[in-house]
Subunit: 133 residues, 2 copies
């Protein structure tokens, strides 16, 4: 069972590496056969190639994009849920949208944090995107 400290470190790396644009390090946070449903209700992406395309599309939509955690990570039985905002910058303006990511982790001694994401579901509505505060 992935422990809470490992999961917290992996979640911090998840938002930091995505925001920093470090695609390769961010992809290493995922199991090779991981599933991603982002947003919930859209087709599930499977594996690094599909998840890497999602990363490219998210970054391609904006000049830059930050993920900012907005509250504590809740951990239970190897799963985690946390609130955050995606904040894309397009031209002179920053936008934001509220998201909750839910992730299931599995042990992986070869990964930087000892755990990797096996399954991820992201709860958000693109229609709620608005100018940042």
């Amino acid at each position: 069972m992935p422990d809470a400290a490992q999961i917290r470190a992996a979640v911090d790396a998840y938002t930091e590496l995505f925001s920093a644009g470090d695609r390769a390090a961010w992809l290493r946070l995922w199991a090779s056969d991981a599933t991603m449903e982002d947003p919930v209700g859209t087709p599930v992406k499977v594996g690094h190639e599909a998840i890497g395309r999602f990363y490219d599309e998210s970054h391609g939509l904006a000049d830059s994009i930050r993920l900012v955690r907005t509250g504590p990570v809740r951990i239970a039985a190897g799963e985690a849920a946390f609130p955050m905002q995606a904040r894309p910058t397009i031209g002179a303006g920053e936008l934001m949208v509220d998201i909750i990511d839910v992730m299931r982790f599995v042990d992986d001694e070869t990964s930087p944090h000892g755990v990797v994401i096996a399954e991820m579901r992201a709860f958000w509505d693109p229609a709620e995107t608005r100018p940042a505060d």
Copy 2:
């Protein structure tokens, strides 16, 4: 598909009725065959009788207990996730613990909000309970 306005109203009723101690009205927010996993990793409770016992146990542990939402409800494809705190009062002291509830809703024209909870999973760690701010 349950719509977002119905889900938002049901989530507001969920925290308000639980906090107010209105057991019967709170239970009507759930489908008769609803499942509850609270916290994630514990045995799944099924149906009003088992979910009612959970309500009784939660309220029985404290003199009173409030659920306070701490951020926006994220809605996608008939599901919702939202951050909150449970705040039990025991004697002169209030405690708090951070939770994220994830709920799947289904349409139910006979219910007060037109939708009921079919499935709920609560992400939190009892060990994180601490004195309230």
